[in-house]
Symmetry: C2
Subunit: 380 residues, 2 copies
């Protein structure tokens, strides 16, 4: 289940089994001059089948779009053993109902993904990375908006971190602060393309000029090593949080203008309990990782207090703002009751009916995604 | 049903009703500095709801991806009057089953689309257009592959026309041949981006240098007028064909390396009957418009002979090559029996079950998409 089947250059498409590790696929396609359209912190352990089942977003989402677009073929085994083979090798525009879309994001509750075909664009020849900092969140928002508009499809990533996130990662990875001071908020801007290095550099400098009034400190990376270092900080946050102690992780969809507000309100609720709030994420897509960590793993009383301070507070906040309780980590077992915060009862009703069509006995990933009232196995 | 509801700059998202004409939306977003991710010849009359229902591809598909990615919200009325409101304003990564994906491409047979939210990237500031010609189709394929690899996400369109297609459009539109001679095959290459005009020009020249050995004649447009003229030829083919006489149109998905083969084989079958074969389409996505026209509208005997020469020949050819009988024009009434050429009986069975979930009485666009055996209204 972890074999690369083929890379079809004419179609820029990777065919592989679902158990392939994302990073293995990244390396495989890079060697051929192409790029997996998906990248995320867990790349070293997550499998492409799981990425599809959870409709993973990640760092490249802003440029490459979602798995609903990049997954051009899927083979799925249904609960009764039927194989749905939609690996259509040469068909970019599917006809009839596009069944494969249903399995993307269904967390394995409608069928088991065994193979997939992923569209991979050419690997960009050059990239430029800048890190900008401000104590004023509104200025970070300005940087985001201007970068999106100016760079358009050359903007290959735009990430947000607050100081708590950046510093926990720097401590954990023993990296130095790349800027000379501490700032509340950071925005990482990456552009990439196939034009010559100097042309890209020029474009990044032009952008930074336009952003001039909107950051207090910043840098444009001068070497590949420096680019990697900046990315290490951003990508190290999750691991650093897990190494620090107990971590309470929320992965939410929210308008990016509200990121600061929910971070501050969460701090108010948990700082006095010893909780440390880390806010970071894919600011270009409105996807915030809102994590609270506490030192060590043993103080269960405090852990309980922190948990109660966070939940249902975070979910209620999201409901009020029309956000979503899970952006790219799925619903799983724990959040089924909160599906109703983002979906109407009619929609949940139809989801239950779809489950009944594909898995009437409820044997695929039972109890996940759908709340109990939406689906009871074996009823007709 | 034809109102623009809102353009949300922070999310680059257009909210509108389903009856809006595509071209109206293109103009509306362009005025705001953004671009509809969809463009096709029928833009002046087609509606965005129909584009979604048929999962339209079009010229920008190669850069912008499919409606499955760009449609970020949908409101649908089901057969029993239930409203499925998935307009989730701020959620880029949907959770639970992504119901809206089912209605995209279902041609109105599962529900009636009333509103949608479409992600629109910033309108690129500059574009460069080149037209290359060769009598050797393999060289056209080389131009395609090299352009894709070199330009990557800056490649905003790559279109194919044969001489019959180009010349019928030039005659119809009274445009002059932009090259000094006639060639069998043409490839139109457009790149776009936000970098300065001169930088883009430089990049296009670099590309043309790399393609040097692979075309016999060609030009790089020197003015906006010339760019528009080249595009008029490409976009005028469909209308020119309809004005010429009876037209037999196939819109198929096929590996682009097979485009020439099917064109030649079709010519063999219809040329002696007076049929003129026009091959053109989105070569970057393997989407060929294979049209046969005959002069005038009255000779029904010849029309019948041409029809019989084309069908089932074209569908059988596609089945053998694992292509698809309809790329972006849907299945409709006429092609339901050919769905089995591209889809397994298991898949068609599950499509029938989905139809039963959403429209058990079969009142939405009856007899369309699914073959009779897959769905009988009212049975349980």
């Amino acid at each position: 289940m972890n074999k690369v089947i083929e890379f079809d250059e004419a179609q820029s498409t990777l065919y592989c089994e679902a158990g392939c590790i994302l990073e293995t696929l990244q390396n495989h396609t890079k060697d051929l001059g192409y790029m997996m359209p998906l990248d995320l912190g867990a790349k070293g352990s997550c499998q492409i089948g799981g990425n599809l089942a959870t409709n993973a977003g990640g760092i490249k989402f802003i440029k490459q779009g979602s798995m609903h677009s990049n997954c051009v073929g899927l083979k799925v085994v249904l609960a009764d053993g039927t194989i749905i083979d939609q690996m259509d090798p040469h068909v970019t525009l599917p006809i009839g109902y596009d069944l494969k879309q249903l399995f993307i994001g269904a967390e394995g509750t409608l069928g088991f993904i065994t193979e997939c075909a992923i569209f991979c664009p050419p690997y960009p020849k050059n990239r430029q990375v800048a890190l900008l900092a401000s104590n004023d969140y509104e200025q970070i928002m300005k940087c985001l908006q201007i970068s999106k508009k100016e760079l358009s499809s050359q903007l290959s990533a735009v990430e947000f971190m607050d100081w708590e996130s950046a510093s926990i990662a720097m401590d954990y990875l023993s990296l130095e602060n790349p800027l000379s001071d501490e700032y509340k908020y950071y925005i990482l801007i990456e552009m990439s393309g196939n034009s010559q290095e100097e042309l890209l550099q020029e474009q990044m400098l032009e952008l930074l000029e336009k952003l001039e009034d909107h950051y207090e400190d910043g840098l444009m990376c001068e070497s590949e090593t420096q680019k990697d270092q900046i990315w290490h900080i951003r990508e190290g946050i999750s691991m650093a949080a897990s190494g620090y102690g107990l971590a309470f992780k929320f992965d939410i969809s929210l308008e990016s203008k509200d990121f600061e507000d929910i971070i501050l309100k969460t701090q108010e609720r948990v700082n006095h309990l010893g909780g440390r709030v880390l806010g970071h994420g894919h600011i270009g897509d409105g996807n915030l990782h809102l994590n609270t960590v506490m030192k060590g793993f043993k103080d269960m009383d405090t852990a309980k207090q922190i948990k109660e301070a966070l939940q249902p507070f975070v979910f209620d906040y999201i409901k009020e703002k029309n956000g979503s309780v899970s952006a790219e980590h799925g619903i799983g077992l724990l959040k089924t009751d909160y599906l109703g915060h983002s979906k109407s009862s009619e929609m949940i009703g139809y989801m239950g009916m779809l489950k009944k069509v594909f898995d009437p006995k409820g044997i695929l990933n039972p109890y996940k995604v759908l709340p109990d009232h939406a689906f009871k196995p074996g009823t007709d």
